[in-house]
Symmetry: C2
Subunit: 393 residues, 2 copies
Amino acid sequence: MSASPKGFRFATVSAGFRKEARPDLALIVSDTPATAAGVFTTNRFQAAPVVVARENLSARPVARAVVINSGQANACTGDEGMTNCRTTLDLVGKACGIPAAEVLPASTGVIGAQLHMDKWREAAPRLAAALGQNTHHDFARAIMTTDAFPKVAERELAIAGTTVRLVGMAKGAGMICPNMATMLSVVLCDAAVTPEAWQRLFLDAVDRTFNRVTVDGDTSTNDTVFGLANGASGVTVEGEDLAKLGEALTDVLARLAYMLVQDGEGATKVMRVKVSGAVDDAEAEAVARTVGHSQLVKTAMYGRDANWGRIVAAVGRSGASFKAEDVVVTLCGVELFRNGQPTDLDFDTLLREPLKGRDVTVDIELGAGTGHYELLASDLTHDYVNCNADYRS
Amino acid sequence: MSASPKGFRFATVSAGFRKEARPDLALIVSDTPATAAGVFTTNRFQAAPVVVARENLSARPVARAVVINSGQANACTGDEGMTNCRTTLDLVGKACGIPAAEVLPASTGVIGAQLHMDKWREAAPRLAAALGQNTHHDFARAIMTTDAFPKVAERELAIAGTTVRLVGMAKGAGMICPNMATMLSVVLCDAAVTPEAWQRLFLDAVDRTFNRVTVDGDTSTNDTVFGLANGASGVTVEGEDLAKLGEALTDVLARLAYMLVQDGEGATKVMRVKVSGAVDDAEAEAVARTVGHSQLVKTAMYGRDANWGRIVAAVGRSGASFKAEDVVVTLCGVELFRNGQPTDLDFDTLLREPLKGRDVTVDIELGAGTGHYELLASDLTHDYVNCNADYRS
């Protein structure tokens, strides 16, 4: 296990937001102000912590701390929810000696209920006192909801002869039964980067990774990704080295994104949908999303069924432009469809073993241009329905 | 049971396209040339019968016959599939003494395999000989695939003191395991209507009905709706009476569309998503489709779960314009969400009984304009996954 980036301390405590007794409040503090960036849900209903974090970052792209609670989403909670969110930042900031405006909040859990402020008041001093006693692995564990495993990715790179470290923690595309998916992630880096450069690298990395995974297409009111770079390694990254840092950042987020799909509710497969030859990237994305969201394709993958017809039908209704006879569909390296017809390969036999694995690749070549896109998607399983159809009758 | 429209005869035979011995080839013949219209799948991969039927109708909007086979879709079959389709029309036309150009084909079943032409040659004379020995109920039964029940809707109306009859037959949004959904429908009318007027009434009725139902969002290579009006009642419908006929036609198709959702694979619910107050109808449609396609909403309905959060989240990611605090969500008449927050009603108790029923209404008021849209959607159930995840390993 590689070390965590320098200059960040972690704390987790059980505040009692959840029914079971387990850490449900997690804090990261940077010893010095860190360059900070955030990407948030595009849902029109935005949770209070999303609104507050966005405000803090747009006022000044600098942060000293990130505080995340699980168990309560503080979404659809009106003005009281906004006030409560700001109060939690005051409580945590005061306990740690940090301005509230430099604390970034995120929440995940049941929506529509107000935060238990008494529990926050009780927990904040304990949280501050615990700083340095926990690791980023503890942090990843404390933000879990229905996740089957904590999600951590680490990376080191050498810049100007010195080691720069990155670590990312995430919680899952596994939904919060009985509410909705919330994806939260924090990535930390001990390089010094200008706010403009960090923002650019961060948005680009998120776009190439988290924005290209799907479990069920539902996005939550709380989805949040934060990136903090505090300079504690003593290395300033600029000029040509920025590309190296961007590559490492993308790698960390890509590994977390893969884990999100792997741990999607009830998922048994990680389907990699690779579309090429589209008129442009946007049409390639439309094809990838139509295939990756198709209930029929997702159940076929669960059923280990080399069902080219469902893939072809999804491609055909995606709205993308192409000639039917130019499309080639390949599943796990076996060509299923070409010249408007299934190939004459015995693909049921050829694919029996490959489709038993966790990773399934669907290559779709449209023959209409150079646009391409890649999406990771989960399958649709009995356990997905079990988890989400919680009979109350 | 009301009578069938005058001047149409029906025949069904077992041609052997399916594994089990049952009628799988069905024919309608009109005694006189009928004004004909068709609506077809928008999927870019179009089955041979879709291409041929479209050609026949665009050459001349008149038909004497409709022939439908189940068991083989004749989709993704290349040039040979096109030739075979035209040959089937020759065979049926010759057997019935009708020009092949006035026979409209549709097919449903396994895709990617060529039609069994020997079976068509053997069956065509038997089919012609059986004309008049079967009813429209037999027709509806012969075109079934995985449908749980045949789908028929009838309607009479008086125009100028004379009875005009309509009958519609459909097969289902239940998928053809292990391939894809195919929806086929034929509506017959014994009024005389000009091609222009019939086309307009028919497209409008399809748009208000079949285009507003969804089981899983997947559309097939073969989806087809035909409408034939043969004038055998002796009544010519024109002028103000056209609105009456249009209303009756829409009613017939609406009842069939409801049955398609009711019989969606594994479905236990028919969810009526009614969106109002959108900026325009297109945004209302986007909201209705996002909610109706949401796996989380669909599993919640299956689970009889008054889960306002999932509905709100789907509304929020639909892309429609509105203020979060203006949205009102009502489930089976019980207001769940208003002013950006859940209402304080005890909706779990209030909705326990209503959510046990088959029909569930979701009203979504956006408060942003006058746009509205209504969509019928099925739920997502264990049986859906059972039916579509056919383990081959």
